[in-house]
């Protein structure tokens, strides 16, 4: 092009000469070797991750084998945990894990999804929305052991009067059939709900944002009020994603350890009462592992395997639902 225009033919050659530290030019043999080495290293990183995950399954599964052989399925259906008599069963822990997580999901899910709607559907000026969004995100940053401490000294005293009223007036309902003696399922689930709220809110927000704008426009065009558009059009459209958020939140709740170990009361009983102490799988592991003898370690590994199986199923289910939800929106 330049040659066709007279007078522009003078080109400053220096501009195009490589500077000394330029990488311009064909790769040397050394570059080639480094390149191969680095690429192998990078692939090695990926393989190492997969290897470690395989090791995780192998180690926990392998160490659990003696326990599985000795106790078999009765481990899952028996409810005594007696180290001196070597009788171990985790039915109460499984029950407590599912109970506390479901209760937490009920509370945290309601708050999380409502927050997600509140933050994505133009209720707030962007500044204020950012403040609330940061607040929810910071909830996730507080370490669980601090939540446990807070639960002991704030949540339990706070809910005690309400719990007493519920027990005295509605004690005939199985959910309130015992009085709150301190730690218990309800305070544990409340703290657990606070801990899963950020996950549910964040993933639901993504799902709600993915709803095409024209869907919302169409709803308003038909004369829907803001909440009619949200509840009948936008939320149903994002339902798969929100469901995925709830499943992922449930997975988080199942595996949460410290807040429960500090608040659930660690009592091996199966109860419907949410004011009664109980136990969870993760709390059982946390409490018994540090002082376990070799025999007890075997059964604890079995318990860890059960916990891993439950959380793995729930988390994979959540990831698959999210994949499905994203594909549907596209």
């Amino acid at each position: 092009m330049a040659a066709s225009r007279p007078g522009v033919a003078v080109v400053n050659v220096e501009l195009f000469r490589p500077k000394r530290d330029s990488v311009c030019g064909p790769p040397s043999a050394v570059d080639f070797v480094i390149d191969r080495g680095f690429r192998a290293l990078s692939r090695g990183g990926v393989l190492l991750i997969l290897f470690v995950i395989a090791m995780l399954l192998w180690e926990i599964g392998g160490k659990a084998i003696p326990g599985i052989q000795r106790y078999g399925l009765s481990f899952l259906t028996s409810s005594t945990w007696d180290v001196s008599r070597e009788q171990y069963g985790i039915l109460p822990a499984i029950w407590g894990t599912l109970y506390s997580s479901l209760l937490a999901l009920l509370i945290g899910g309601f708050f999380g999804v409502t927050m997600a709607i509140f933050l994505t559907q133009d209720f707030l000026p962007p500044r204020l929305a950012a403040v609330f969004r940061t607040t929810v995100e910071l909830l996730a940053a507080i370490p669980s052991v601090v939540y446990g401490l807070w639960g002991i000294f704030v949540v339990i005293p706070f809910i005690r009067p309400f719990a007493d009223v519920m027990h005295n007036e509605f004690g005939w309902i199985p959910f309130f059939s015992t009085s709150l003696s301190g730690p218990g399922l309800l305070p544990a689930s409340i703290v657990l709900a606070i801990m899963v709220l950020p996950t549910i809110a964040a993933v639901s927000q993504d799902a709600l944002r993915a709803v095409p704008f024209r869907v919302k426009q169409a709803a308003y065009g038909l004369g829907a009020t803001q909440w009619e558009a949200i509840l009948r059009v936008i939320v149903p459209t994002a339902a798969t994603g929100i469901f995925g958020a709830l499943v992922l939140g449930f997975g988080r709740a199942l595996g949460e350890t410290m807040a429960l170990a500090m608040l659930v009361g660690n009592s091996n009983q199966i109860t419907l009462s949410m004011l009664s102490p109980a136990n969870t799988l993760a709390a059982l592991l946390a409490l018994n592992f540090p002082e376990a003898g070799p025999r007890e370690v075997e059964v604890l590994m079995y318990g860890a395997l059960v916990l891993m199986a439950i959380t793995l199923v729930v988390n994979v289910l959540g990831s698959v639902i999210m994949l499905f939800a994203n594909r549907k929106m596209r």
Partner: protein, 296 residues
């Protein structure tokens, strides 16, 4: 009836007292209430930390050893050091492996089936209960070396940090404009040169954000340390030798241990240690947010 008549007979003005409009307004009020209630726990936690922990937070608390039973005074100096050491060991393992893997996922083999498998596995790993990371490190390190130690805790934490590092680093690497890569390739760069001199420096803020978030999360983890690093009432470096392969204290485990004690002194120290831990976590979090603002 023609179109003009229809539009004339329909009242399109807003009717604020109509049932539908009232219901909408009520739900909006409910949403506000929920949002405010959701903010209460954070404020309450912060208030308790400042009022209970702040009173006890002083130089003595930060530099002395934990008190036994009925002793007064004391602090959590060894736990603070222990947390830093264990998290540093975890990061030293997780960051290089995580970045190497992220480079593969984002650039070298982003569409390969290996990458797809690894991506799914990493996402699933983010949901791994932290206590299971502890169980894994217990089986892999504690049972093999025969002792609770800081490296065992570090291994457990690295397992929890790796997914965050990989996923954020991959995102950051993918954000680098294609023009920049193409320009480098056009000059005859090898893929390694493009990655080392263009991709990684450009994506550095994003990668650091992920690393800092992972460190912040790891610093607060308790469950994986309970039976890997355990706890100790002594300094890591004591009597002239560094005892890395021995039980190591950490802030999180100290809070857990002290929270169950019947002594006011220990409870106060648990609050003070919580304040320090939350300050560390929040400072890292806020810093990573400032850093992570996209500049490209």
């Amino acid at each position: 009836m023609n179109a003009a008549d229809v539009s004339a007979s329909v009242d399109l003005r807003r009717a604020p007292l109509e049932r539908r409009a009232l219901r909408s307004a009520m739900l909006t009020g409910g949403a506000w209430l929920v949002a405010v209630i959701a903010a209460v726990p954070l404020l309450s936690v912060l208030y308790m930390l400042v009022s209970h922990g702040g009173a006890r937070l002083n130089v003595e608390a930060l530099t002395t050893l934990p008190p036994a039973g009925f002793e007064m005074g004391g602090g959590f100096g060894n736990a603070l050091v222990g947390t830093l050491v264990v998290v540093a060991i975890g990061a030293a393992i997780a960051v290089p492996v995580g970045i190497a893997a992220a480079v593969f996922l984002a650039e070298l083999g982003s569409t390969s089936s290996l990458a797809n498998v690894a991506r799914f596995a990493t996402k699933t790993l983010t949901g791994l209960p932290s206590i299971l990371a502890g169980v894994f490190a217990y089986a892999l390190v504690v049972l093999v070396t025969g002792t609770y130690s800081a490296p065992a805790g570090g291994v457990a934490l690295s397992l929890l940090m790796v997914p965050t590092v990989i996923l954020t680093a991959e995102e950051a690497l993918k954000m680098v404009p294609k023009i920049m890569k193409d320009a480098a390739y056009g000059m005859g760069c090898t893929r390694t040169q493009v990655i080392a001199r263009v991709l990684l420096p450009t994506a550095l803020p994003g990668i650091l954000t992920g690393v800092m978030l992972a460190v912040a999360r790891a610093a607060g983890e308790t469950a994986p340390l309970l039976f890997t690093a355990l706890f100790s009432n002594y300094w890591l470096y004591q009597d002239g030798h560094l005892g890395l392969m021995q039980p190591t204290a950490s802030l999180a485990v100290l809070i857990y241990n002290f929270s169950g004690m019947p002594f006011d002194n220990q409870i106060e120290l648990a609050w003070a240690a919580s304040l320090v831990l939350v300050l560390i976590v929040l400072v890292i979090n806020v810093a990573s947010r400032l850093l992570g603002k996209p500049k490209i």
